[in-house]
Symmetry: C4
Subunit: 337 residues, 4 copies
């Protein structure tokens, strides 16, 4: 399956909810929430893309990195490339509704596992949602991660138990959903959490616990204090707070402050293998990719998802050759101009 | 009433005088004076928008600001959010003429009072104008502020008396109208004022006196010297002097110089609750909003105005949660990247 | 006569050679030489516009500059505003050919004199050209300046004599025409000049001698050494060397180096009274304006030219009020942000 | 033959593979590989153009450089201007296929020799390709350079022998093709090289050896260590690694580090004689030009190529006059602002 074909199909199947632009940078869909855009001016989404775009690479060709190893290990699991599918949900609300939630997520899950990486499934205000996602994960005999909304702790802890039973190898909370006042309309308030509250969540499970939605050094340091296993540097795809900086802009300072103490994942604007390389060079231990997995799933089902993973794997390898990196550990800020 | 509906109606009712662009940034209407644009190149208007756009926010989610208080008190009055409707006038000259001056301003006044904030009414070369505005203010049993053009002092003082009689709780002069040579055509010259001249105005009333149109630290320091109660950092919506910087660019240095000595209000390019938060973080005690109140009034009468206020109130609250600000006093430059 | 009307007529009369864009910045006409554009990429023209655009003004309203004096004296002549019409020629080659050279220049000359400023006439490879221009200058009983191409000195000195006989009050050479290899095709080579060669020209006349086309501090210091009365900081409207900086960018350093030792005139991208104010604040003693006088002459003959001068005079005065400058001498870098 | 005519024909003959834009900057063709674009986002191509665009020139007119000498000597050969045609190949794959590889390259070769400069021919995965190119070089009685892909050393050394037999005066490897994973599909892997491997290549021939594809100071210093005669600062026209900086951006630091120790050629975004001047001022000893030779060959055969060379020669001479450079040696960073 050709990736161009995947995109062409996706454009049709997404019913205008996403235009599948040549460059997925958030400009055309600015403000489309619901939809696939960034909130308000859309600039928190475009900032993710632009912050990566500003990073330029030192091409290096006199060296012996002739066949780089692109694999890593995270939470005891081996990944072919340091990439996971970010939790994205809402086929009816955001993606035009042609495919059901379970169709969409089952393709993401299978495609990821076939492609040698892992899926992360998400949670919404609809109670049935997380169980559906976890069921699909089970069906694929699959391993993956579950990210839960920042409900009251009791509610979260129940959902963590459900995820554990489904066999996930890590859990977490996308704490940046704290400002989604709309969720409160369903009578299930979300909100920010104190260090103490997060500690309670961390202690409630033996699985590695992930805090998704950290955008400052201060929050990253507090995250370390909570005992969490990982932070995801993320502005929620630019969908919760207008006018944040891009992830690639804040990543270096966050990585500098906490790397080694906590796993640092980066999520924002990654589209290609070259973008993956940049995020790693900026300090990430691994990368989450969101919207392109929607396009790949809607455009080619599980095969589309695998095609996309193969594409970025090839790009990453070529880029590692041309910057002289023989494995993921070798990638550092020296390759950035 | 839905805000999108308000904008749709406004586009029709403004008769092309304003295109009600998706982003109200002064580009399309550049040079349209009369009209809703900035003067000359239009860049003093676009600068207001762009200066705010450049300010990026630190998203913070690990804290306990779960239910922020958005209210403030200015001049002894409590406001639901730190926002007032800026004085904008000229329905025939600038807004396409479909609604009369008193219709337009009565909707702004009622909508503001219903929304928990206060309107500021303005003055023009037409003698009947200010009395009309003050009458509407009275009719709504209303409380508000009157801003007078920089005529000769005697003339201003007469108008201050009229405003006092109408029950306003503060008065002021938009001294940046000093360069409007067109006003001189009506035989009523406007001009800049010396410190001594402004002192005379301040002393002429017991109400708090506001100097609107300060764009430099020097002028702000002189304003403190006059005994005025407040300055409005404003370039008159970019309509008097082409090529000034944006308000959000000069605000921090002005706030640093005079905050605490005089109330600092900011007026330029504010469209959303996130913009309000930015202006406060940059040093403003409160914010004036201009053009969006025209659109809201023309698009939905007083209900449109209230709808707009509700919208920015919700945005402000969500943004305060996501930046960790529990009340207006807590907002400071730490939330700015 | 309304200036908008002038522009509308100009658009028609210029036959597409100039689109009379809303903003005359060199983008649409990039590369149109012959024509009205900048050479090559057009960026030396656009740089003039953009360098001015970057300069932002400090609005000041608390002062006593209520009725500023906009006049200056240059070379013993009084000008209503510190503006002269730059030498621009080639109605057939560059301006669509509807009007003859003598029509066009006679309107510029008369319009300038009616408007209280002075015209500068130019020279080309066609021998009859300068005499025609000088004749028109004489006819208007006119006073003005003649700028001659950088031919061999002997040829220049002859033309200086012709200009003296026509009654001009200053002469000069646009030495930046040195790279116009096309002129060599007419068998009349132009070229750069050494300090010694320029000294010979300066000594050949009792009139003030102007060197037009200085863009570096080094050349400006050499110009002082030649004994010339004035330099014009100019890149020839971006028509001789692609990729030079804009005039407003290099002006401050040149003014700093030579101001007081030689009159400093600035020529590049000035369109409005606000632009005139900026050039003066950046260090110019006076300003030359080029393309807008073509549009004014083609769009409204001498009346169009006067209309344009009246417009920028009003803009300059309003801008002086709003920046607190009571006369031209008071304008300095403090009004620039 | 008029250059505009050449471009017009080229647009037709290139069959949409290249739009022959007014400005050849890589924006429209972004991602078109195969085709004439840059890889991925296309930004490594646009960066070449934009890095040059940012360089501004000091216009200087008071001096005695009235008739500059534009010639240089490289590898013992005299060139009319310091320009060579870069190796570009793939008429079927990249250029629309209207003309054969040998037609296209024969026109480039003849046009270059007629224009007083030298062609560089290239190599591809197709075995017959290099011999064809070398045959055409021989036919024109021609002198030129051959650049070989970074195959295994044994393979390269065989090809160097073939080139020697064809009479070239220098050989080299475009080592930045190392990341072209597609070449591996033909069973002929390319890759980066160590210093030792390159030394073997250098020693295999008595001809000057050129390393094309250096973008960092580190690689340039290693190149000196290998004993190579020259480096070409190049990102392969932006076609191998997305998101590199532009050549003109990295050139100054590379030239500073190795100039004098090794010949420094620059290849990236050069379009005009002004661009040639900039690259020399930034530290290059000579310049390679790629895409414009394709357009010239497709648009006017050998005469088109010569027309293009004449054009940039005239532009270079005029620009040297206007910056005061009497010969190529005189060109240095002082002419850059």
């Amino acid at each position: 399956m050709d990736y161009k074909e995947v995109l062409k199909n996706a454009k049709q199947n997404l019913n205008g909810s996403c235009r599948v632009c040549q460059v997925c940078n958030g400009r055309v869909c600015a403000g489309e929430v619901p939809g696939m855009g960034g909130t308000g001016s859309g600039m928190a989404f475009t900032a993710n893309y632009e912050a990566l775009e500003k990073v330029k690479l030192n091409m290096r060709v006199i060296h012996d990195a002739k066949d780089p190893d692109t694999s890593i290990e995270i939470f005891g699991k081996k990944l072919r490339i340091p990439v996971m599918a970010a939790p994205v949900s809402g086929t009816t609300l955001n993606m035009g509704g042609k495919f059901s939630e379970s169709q969409y997520i089952s393709w993401v899950i299978k495609g990821c596992l076939d492609g040698g990486v892992y899926p992360i499934v998400g949670d919404t205000a609809v109670d049935a949602f997380l169980p559906t996602n976890l069921d699909e994960l089970k069906k694929s005999g699959g391993t993956g991660i579950a990210i839960i909304k920042p409900w009251e702790n009791k509610n979260i802890i129940n959902k963590i138990k459900m995820a554990e039973e489904a066999g996930v190898f890590a859990v977490g909370v996308d704490i940046d959903a704290a400002g989604l006042i709309t969720l409160a309309l369903f009578g299930k308030p979300v909100g920010p959490k104190t260090v103490e509250e997060i500690k309670e969540l961390v202690k409630s499970t033996k699985l590695p616990f992930i805090l998704k939605g950290v955008m400052t050094v201060d929050d990253a340091l507090l995250a370390v204090e909570t005992g969490a296993a990982a932070v995801v540097v993320s502005n929620h795809g630019g969908r919760v707070l207008d006018q944040t900086p891009g992830v690639a802009e804040v990543l270096p300072e966050i990585a500098k402050a906490v790397k080694g103490k906590i796993t640092v994942l980066a999520d924002g604007g990654v589209r290609t293998g070259v973008d993956v390389l940049k995020m790693l060079a900026l300090g990430a231990d691994g990368v989450l990719i969101g919207r392109p997995f929607v396009t790949a799933s809607f455009g080619g089902e599980s095969e589309g998802v695998k095609t996309y993973i193969d594409k970025i794997a090839a790009e990453l390898k070529s880029a590692m050759i041309l910057t002289g990196c023989k494995d993921i550990k070798s990638i550092n800020k020296d390759i950035i101009r």
